[in-house]
Symmetry: C2
Subunit: 239 residues, 2 copies
């Protein structure tokens, strides 16, 4: 966005200009982001009721944006809305989490294969930068920011495949998997371990060998949840 502003304002473009624009008019997305964060982190327990007007008062906006945010959360699978009865934080199950991991694995591995021929050095550099950012966040133990950085990394690679219709599905998988991993941290890996897995993916991408890329992705994705097997037992159309 900054580039387009710079294009339309060729005159001065003072550096402070970017900071002037604050959350004006983005109330809806802000509410959505905050609620999503609280749910993924487990601060809002499953079954918790979310009242539209109550949230609106708390946030300082009207019912409309809150309503919109709750709707998006429902599409994410994080809340359930029941007619005129109310909105509640949804419940999770390990079985679903495992299946979601398998789906995510399938989507990302296929996307990586499609993206492999069109990878550019600049993209690889971009990915490397994101890994560094992730490690930085890992040092600060900012769990939620890490999940976002992780999502960004994987989405950056995924987008190269040119399958935009699958992106919302993948995002959904990210959200629910991360939520499950955070709220049930039975034997989770350390954040730094996760970052190192990304490095091996990047190395495989640099190498350019299809099999190595797919295998590193599989390993990394399945490592998020304990129960998920790397083989994706009995799944796809592949006989």
């Amino acid at each position: 966005m900054a580039s387009r502003v710079a294009a339309t304002v060729p005159a001065a473009s003072p550096p402070w200009l970017a900071e002037v624009r604050l959350p004006q008019g983005a109330k809806g997305s802000a509410v959505y982001g905050q609620l999503r964060r609280l749910i993924v982190l487990g601060r809002l327990p499953a079954g918790e009721p979310l009242v539209e007007l109550q949230l609106a008062a708390a946030v300082g906006c009207s019912q409309g944006p809150v309503r919109e945010a709750l709707f998006r959360l429902q599409e994410d699978g994080l809340v359930q809305r029941a007619g005129y009865r109310g909105t509640f934080v949804s419940r999770t199950s390990s079985a679903e989490a495992e299946e979601l991991v398998a789906l995510r694995c399938r989507i990302e591995v296929q996307a990586a294969r499609r993206a492999l021929p069109s990878l550019t050095p600049s993209l690889l550099e971009d990915l490397a930068t994101q890994i560094e950012r992730m490690e930085e966040l890992a040092r600060h133990e900012d769990l939620y920011a890490m999940t976002e950085a992780d999502r960004t990394f994987h989405l950056t690679l995924f987008r190269e495949a040119g399958l935009p219709a699958l992106e919302p599905i993948l995002e959904r998988c990210f959200l629910l998997i991360h939520r499950h991993a955070i709220t049930r941290p039975e034997r989770r890996r350390t954040p730094m371990e996760a970052a190192s897995r990304h490095r091996s993916i990047l190395a495989a991408l640099r190498g350019g060998e299809e099999e190595a890329v797919m295998e590193s992705l599989r390993l990394h994705i399945c490592s998020v949840i304990d129960g998920a097997s790397p083989l994706g037992a009995g799944g796809g159309p592949a006989a």
Copy 2:
């Protein structure tokens, strides 16, 4: 101010606008259903702009429900909303359709495996009834109603698996696949053929053999799209 509304509605009303008129009652979901139908059937071509106030005027409700419907359509991947710039019918690609078929296959096959132990005779009868309904619709050549009946059939089976978090993903796959199949009917099977495939699924379910069930599901699902071979050309996580 009616004059202001009239001023904002372009004089050139698209030909499909008359079809969004709906009976009465629950406006919000009705608008969503109508628009979804028109898009899946291809009456609304890709790239077509959808203006909230224009739709509201055509349907006879306010902007809110229409807005909500457009949001749901975006989550379904049928439209794209761009900031303050407008809403447009999304575009499809065969590559995405093939990948969606693979995903759907994976989800349903896994779900069927989970559901197999808990199948009841009444559920099987229910499925049989739905097949008959589908054949009835096939005789009337009501394509969209058939897609809905097909969805109902598969969802009925899927729900037995007890993986509610995956249901929206599956619905998404249904919608986009059906849309692609209808709007690009290059070498589609006849509706009756599709119904017979369901019969073979039901027979396999009655038999209770896991492999037979999974295989019949695979065949049926992959037959929806031409490009998707049962072998998973460019397909499965299995290399």
